[in-house]
């Protein structure tokens, strides 16, 4: 059963990511991205990283997707020049992506010999200890970074220019 759920999440992740390549509407793209994020969160939970999975749902589904949707809906469309063709340099771009993917597949041939099942205990406690002892400085720096980024973002996005209009 768990095995089936695992393969189902992998299939749904790959299918939504593949559909992202062909979708034209930006809102559908954001919803597909949301499906990818939620399936990856499910995979995290199946890989016994429960805290990471819940953070993934909170941060990506609650934060990034809402940010994208507001970014689409709050930008004014007056005098906006929509591009007719949504793609550019399609053959070279796809070719580079294919070459990159096959190179990575070739480079990870050793992965085949990985062990199948590892018994892991539920280690949220260990994660919190590590986060507040070994990684205390990066933790604080990340907090300061988030604060400064959001002040800067509010300043940049809120600024209206009077010279153009």
């Amino acid at each position: 059963m768990i095995q089936f759920v695992f393969y189902f999440f992998i299939f749904l992740t790959l299918a939504s990511a593949f559909a992202l390549l062909f979708v034209r509407q930006i809102l559908y793209a954001v919803l597909l991205l949301l499906v990818v994020m939620l399936c990856v969160a499910g995979l995290f939970i199946l890989m016994q990283a429960e805290f990471i999975g819940v953070s993934q749902i909170l941060i990506y589904a609650g934060g990034v997707a809402v940010l994208f949707i507001f970014g689409i809906m709050l930008s004014d469309k007056k005098g906006f020049s929509f591009t007719k063709v949504a793609y550019t340099q399609i053959f070279s771009g796809m070719g580079i992506a294919l070459v990159l993917g096959s190179l990575l597949l070739y480079a990870t041939q050793a992965v085949k010999k990985l062990p199948n099942e590892v018994k892991v205990k539920n280690d949220v406690q260990q994660l919190s200890f590590e986060l507040l002892s070994d990684f205390a400085l990066p933790f604080e720096v990340t907090g300061i970074l988030l604060l400064s980024i959001f002040i800067g973002v509010a300043y940049i996005a809120g600024k209206t220019n009077h010279t153009q209009s």
Binding site: A29, F70, S75, G101, T142, T160
Partner: protein, 102 residues
């Protein structure tokens, strides 16, 4: 539940994200591609951490990557809103005010 499949999934996600970044004309799609690549990195870290469960360095790094990812998205969308106000387009190749005249 072999973590090998997760690593292959991460490889496909990286390839699709690269293709989105390289072939799309809209800044929003490029940001979505970058998000896909960052998610693939997270998947890889968690898969390898599942293989070596004596410490949780992979999961900790995943948390930091998530924080950086949301900073990057917020910055990108703010810049995109400002570019859309200024230039009335979000196609990167049509923003060429400082380009040298041919």
């Amino acid at each position: 539940m072999n973590p090998t499949y997760l690593i292959y999934t991460a490889i496909v996600l990286v390839a699709i994200g690269t293709a989105l970044v390289l072939t799309r004309k809209s800044l929003l799609f490029i940001l979505i591609g970058i998000e896909l690549i960052l998610n693939a990195v997270n998947l890889n870290l968690v898969a390898f951490n599942h293989l070596y469960p004596q410490n949780v360095n992979g999961q900790t790094t995943t948390l930091f990557i998530m924080a950086i990812a949301i900073c990057e998205t917020a910055c990108g969308i703010a810049i995109m809103i400002q570019v859309a106000r200024q230039y009335k387009t979000i196609t990167p190749s049509s923003i060429q005010d400082l380009k040298e005249q041919a």
